[in-house]
């Protein structure tokens, strides 16, 4: 018990009740903060960690991947598979396959950190849902090509 006494308690209680009512009535006339999700979407912060995606380099009109395999080695879940081939007359390997099994990925980001060329980055994609497991086995080379088809790449690169 406190020592406010009978009338002190009454006065203190009534005052705090009125303060409470004042708070809620003022909240009532403030703007609504709900985002009606499927119809409206929130802006995603730049450092959002989605699944990884190959970075498009407009100068080389492709990705910077040198098929060193560092990302596949760094991945603790073993969900990245990289393959490339060296063509006649080319100096370096060309990426032919980069797959991500997103069902196993724990979004630790080790692949992005270890990549010596900065060729992979987090995507902003969060609307991910599917009916089969295979839908989350991403072929990143194909996704890169889909995002940057030739006319689009020319417009983005400015040449």
């Amino acid at each position: 018990m406190n020592n406010r006494g009978y009338f002190g308690e009454l006065w203190f209680g009534s005052k705090s009740l009125l303060i409470g009512l004042n708070v809620t009535i003022r909240e009532m006339f403030k703007p609504i903060v709900t985002v009606q999700y499927p119809r409206e979407e929130c802006a995603i912060t730049p450092n959002y960690r989605g699944h990884i995606e190959l970075v498009f380099n407009p100068e080389s009109d492709g990705c910077d991947c040198i098929v060193c395999g560092m990302c596949a080695k760094a991945c603790p879940s073993g969900c990245i598979a990289v393959a490339g081939e060296k063509k006649e007359g080319e100096k370096r390997k060309v990426l032919t396959q980069f797959t991500l099994d997103f069902t196993k990925c724990s979004l630790c980001g080790s692949c992005v950190e270890t990549c010596p060329k900065g060729a992979i980055a987090y995507s902003q994609d969060y609307n991910i849902a599917g009916f089969t497991r295979e839908e989350f086995h991403y072929d990143l080379v194909e996704r890169l090509a889909r995002r940057h088809q030739k006319p689009l790449a020319a417009a983005a690169g400015g040449n």
Binding site: T24, I32, Q36
Partner: protein, 322 residues
């Protein structure tokens, strides 16, 4: 058909229709106000701004199966919702919506309304007892204790007004507020009545019989479909009754700025005042947390009843002297 009988049938249909409409309007208001207090949009999907949501809810409840739990007293279990709903309709029969909009004018209207609203406690008692569920029974215990306590300050505060008007007729009380509303001379009685009214209708912060976080839903835990809807309708009808008594006794009833056809359009001012008070009830519900049971009892017996008694005594002395 004699005209008086026809009038009674039309009135009965209108009153029941009004109870359902009132529940829909209040249900919508409650959900919208609570949403805006929490800075949500609330109902938005069914109809413009979700205005048809309560209609959809009503159809859903009608379509549901009525489940009687095992070991329950079947007769009492089915009786309780009707026992709760029927007396809640009756106060509307004597409600003075406007000077000439009153179905029956009785000299004892106020006593009639208070008697009818008190029956709700018996319905809760029957519902909780017949459900054969410990949570229902706990809700019932609390409800009975609460109702017994809060009837006293409620009646004492109303008695102060009755001493001033020396009539139980609602039209008579409104007529007595010719120059000023009684809230100006009886503010304490108004506050005590309103608090007791909150407790009487089991509204938060006094919703101990329901107390969904402790007792799942209290006395109506086992009810489904229309059984539940009847309790829901009764709660909203009771809220309306409590607020309309407050309007009649303290806020001048249907009196306001005169409108054309004043004998009938007084209903506008009446509804405005009643829904204003109902808004305060909803506002209070979404502001305060539920009180503990001992706090509920302490507040009633140590604060409300002494103050109501003192108020009554002072009123009696002043009425005698003036």
């Amino acid at each position: 058909m004699p005209p008086e009988l026809l009038r009674m049938i039309i009135a009965a249909v209108l009153v029941v229709a009004f109870v359902f409409l009132n529940a829909m309007v209040l249900g919508y208001m409650e959900r919208k106000v609570s949403a805006h207090i929490q800075r949500r949009p609330g109902l938005m999907e069914v109809g413009p701004h979700g205005i048809l949501q309560l209609l959809v809810d009503g159809f859903k409840l009608i379509g549901k199966q009525l489940v009687v739990p095992e070991g329950a007293n079947r007769f009492l279990f089915r009786l309780a919702p009707i026992l709760s709903f029927a007396p809640c309709v009756l106060p509307f029969v004597v409600m003075p919506f406007a000077r000439k909009l009153q179905i029956v004018s009785m000299d004892i209207s106020l006593i009639f309304i208070l008697a009818m609203t008190s029956i709700n406690v018996i319905a809760i008692l029957v519902a909780g007892w017949a459900s054969n569920n410990k949570y229902s029974l706990f809700g019932t215990f609390r409800s009975v204790a609460q109702a017994v306590s809060y009837e006293i300050p409620m009646l004492l505060s109303l008695l102060s007004v009755i001493l001033m008007t020396s009539t139980f007729s609602l039209q008579g009380i409104i007529a007595a507020q010719k120059y000023y509303w009684f809230i100006l001379v009886q503010p304490l009685a108004f506050i005590i009545y309103f608090i007791s009214g909150l407790a009487e209708t089991n509204r938060a912060p006094f919703d101990m019989p329901e107390a969904e976080s402790e007792l799942t839903a209290g006395f109506h835990t086992e009810y489904s479909g229309m059984g539940f809807s009847f309790f829901f309708l009764a709660e909203y009808a009771n809220m309306f009754t409590v607020c309309s008594i407050a309007t009649v006794l303290f806020l001048g009833g249907w009196k306001g700025i005169p409108l054309p056809l004043g004998d009938y359009t007084g209903i506008f001012w009446f509804m405005l005042k009643v829904y204003g008070l109902l808004f305060v009830m909803i506002w209070v519900r979404w502001t305060y947390p539920r009180v503990r049971f001992d706090q509920l009892m302490t507040f009633c017996w140590k604060y409300l009843i002494p103050f109501a008694l003192a108020n009554l005594l002072i009123t009696a002395v002043l009425v005698k002297l003036i």
